[in-house]
């Protein structure tokens, strides 16, 4: 039955791709849609065929809940490192950050450091205890000694909130991007991404999702490096030469290498730094990757590899963006109407793609476009798996069934949850097509930093945390982060069309995060119930396990 389903799904997946390939017909007149790009489509089909093969293989190895959620804990540190890097480097990283360096110069580089700096902190303070205390989701840790039903419900709600915001950003991005790169209909693209993701996650679980991430991360690293080398070679690999020429032609002139408008006021700069750094440490799909390895040793290695790849790739992007200023920014071919300095064909995010085209022709453009599509697909799959596990493991198995659900039933629920999330993603993707979704990723990071991170870190480090404190901290962080974003310019003005924002900063972390910590502290301290005393007592055992890993779930059967 399972086998047939898998075959069916593989066929469905390929069908979706075929539909994709043939849907690029009549609407060529729409401004942003490009001519159908066959190189890209063929290369993407190769990627899909390969990953479908892996999903088919993975489905035969996905029998227990441990297999489904964490690939049975059998992923090595190196593989997991690549997968984490894959999860972390979305299409927004490749396209958005290249474009940011292209238009803002040095500011883009500052952003990248903020995205990177969270990793060492995660390793030093969290990786160990995460691996030693958790099993499938990070709620395993917050619920370890607290009231399981209430705390897991809260953690699942904030996880799902983060997942949904992140999904909207990825889906809308995917639709726009595929319209641009492949010359396909927006809705076709959304359905293709949604259906392929459902197939990967439903049948292959974490094994397939991990391998999709690994393959995609390798493609991304290889593709980016190739474009960077070809582009940089035009400047004899001299940074001096490159920057000299770039500052001479860029409209920012000498200010190109100065911190500029993006981080104009100190509050925004600090809030952004906090949000990106601690948001990373609260993203459910990233935290989940700490449970896919054998033990704490491999978990540490994964962070080492992942941060290495991320740091390397950010520097590649910096060079790509600078090269783009000259190679793309000075070439009339890439501008609408052929006027240098006008609007880039396909919009501002296309710098990386035009650069690939300029230095490597259609083949390289096709490859990079396929990489971008694969990237979206992989990130969406990771998100869906994290969301599904919050539903099936936290809500269904632990809260509703109180741990009495059979493994088969739990996997079944997580598959259904994945399919539901897939449809939710498709619907949201279509609903938000015309919306400005720039704030979505910031919102996801903000909620992760304010709702997930404070409770998680307190539950690991602070003996005094009680259920009451965790609930107030978690819900308080969630509500304040969402409220602040709604009142900020990106929603209040850009989406709701009010005259002026009620909250003047774009990033909520600086305010929402301390607020969550404060609530958790106050409501734990004033909690003198018998339950609270028991919970504080239970910290000692948790502490020893967190430090030694004794009793931690180990790799099963691999």
């Amino acid at each position: 039955m399972m086998r047939n389903l898998t075959k069916l799904s593989t066929a469905l997946g390929l069908l979706a791709v075929a539909a994709l390939a043939f849907a690029g017909g009549p609407l060529e007149g729409v401004t942003e849609k490009q001519a159908t790009n066959w190189h890209a489509i063929i290369m993407f089909c190769i990627f899909v065929t390969m990953t479908m093969g892996i999903t088919y293989w993975a489905s035969s190895r996905t029998k227990s809940t441990a297999d489904f959620y964490t690939a049975g804990g059998g992923i090595t540190g190196f593989q997991n490192g690549l997968a984490i890097a894959g999860d972390y480097m979305s299409a927004a990283t490749l396209l958005g950050l290249t474009a940011m360096v292209y238009t803002q110069g040095y500011d883009g580089y500052i952003y990248m450091l903020a995205f990177f700096a969270g990793w060492p902190i995660i390793l030093f303070l969290m990786a160990e205890r995460l691996r030693n205390l958790g099993k499938f989701t990070f709620s395993d840790i917050t619920a370890y000694r607290l009231d399981e039903g209430k705390v897991r419900t809260m953690a699942a709600i904030s996880s799902l909130t983060v997942v949904c915001f992140y999904l909207i950003a990825q889906m809308v991005g995917a639709g726009q991007l595929i319209k641009l790169l492949f010359g396909l209909e927006y809705n076709v693209a959304i359905f293709a991404v949604g259906i392929l993701m459902m197939v990967y996650v439903t049948f292959g679980g974490m094994v397939a999702t991990t391998w999709v991430q690994i393959i995609k991360a390798c493609m991304l690293l290889a593709g980016g490096t190739l474009v960077m080398i070809l582009a940089f070679s035009q400047f004899d690999f001299s940074f001096q030469n490159l920057v000299e020429k770039a500052t001479a032609v860029h409209k920012l002139k000498d200010k190109l290498m100065y911190p500029g408008s993006l981080l104009a006021d100190p509050v925004t700069a600090i809030s952004l730094g906090l949000g990106l750094m601690f948001g990373t440490a609260g993203l459910p799909h990233i935290l989940m990757r700490f449970f896919t390895v054998t033990d704490a040793k491999e978990a540490r290695k994964s962070v080492l590899y992942a941060s290495g790849f991320v740091a390397y790739f950010f520097n590649v992007i910096f060079i790509m963006g600078l090269c783009g200023i000259l190679i793309v920014g000075q070439n009339p071919e890439f501008f609408e109407g052929g006027t240098v300095g006008g609007k880039l064909i396909g919009g501002g995010n296309m710098v990386a793609m035009h650069l690939a085209n300029a230095v490597g022709g259609n083949m390289l453009l096709g490859f990079l476009a396929a990489v971008a599509f694969a990237t979206i697909l992989a990130v969406v799959s990771g998100l869906a798996l994290a969301g599904a596990s919050a539903i099936s493991h936290d809500l269904y198995a632990r809260v509703i069934m109180k741990g009495q659900a059979s493994e088969t039933k739990e996997i079944q629920v997580s598959r259904i949850a994945t399919i539901c999330l897939g449809f939710v993603a498709i619907v949201l993707g279509i609903l938000f097509e015309k919306q400005n979704i720039a704030f979505m990723v910031g919102l996801a990071f903000g909620v992760a930093a304010a709702a997930n991170f404070p409770v998680l870190i307190l539950s690991m480090f602070w003996k005094g945390l009680t259920t009451r404190g965790a609930l107030f901290g978690g819900y308080g962080g969630l509500i304040s982060a969402v409220t602040l974003v709604v009142l900020s310019k990106s929603v209040w003005v850009d989406v709701l069309h009010n005259a002026a924002p009620l909250f003047p900063y774009g990033q909520p972390a600086l305010f929402a995060m301390p607020f969550a910590f404060l609530l958790a502290y106050i409501f734990s301290k004033t909690d003198s119930s018998a339950r609270a005393l028991r919970e504080i007592d239970a910290f000692e055992d948790q502490y020893v396990r967190g430090q030694t890993g004794f009793g931690a779930s180990s790799a099963s059967n691999h």
Partner: protein, 106 residues
């Protein structure tokens, strides 16, 4: 059973040694990263012009780019240093603690 095991580990002096050494090491490294990163963010916020200066006369390499590149490499080296020490020294200490607790158990 397992609670008794945890109790035995906790009273083992090696456990205290592990916790003290590792926490001190991890927090020191974390403090270095946090201080450097937020120090840098403060400079971006309050004195951006200083980051735009060239490292030497006529060079196109600015202080900001050099400092950031250094941080990318330095932070990553710190993770390597931590992983190396944790995967050897701390892990073998942990194994000893667990083994001794088992022995007492018998």
């Amino acid at each position: 059973m397992s609670s008794a095991m945890y109790e035995r580990m906790r009273v083992n002096p090696k456990f205290q040694e592990l916790v003290t050494k590792r926490s001190r090491f991890a927090w020191t490294l974390a403090a270095i990263v946090l201080t450097m990163f937020y120090g840098f963010v403060m400079v971006v916020a309050f004195n951006p012009a200083s980051l735009g200066k060239p490292v030497s006369e006529g060079s196109m390499l600015t202080v900001g780019v050099a400092v950031e590149l250094f941080m990318f490499i330095f932070f990553w080296s710190l993770t390597a240093v931590y992983v190396r020490r944790a995967n050897t020294e701390f892990d073998s200490l942990t194994q000893e603690i667990v083994k001794e607790a088992w022995k007492e158990n018998k």
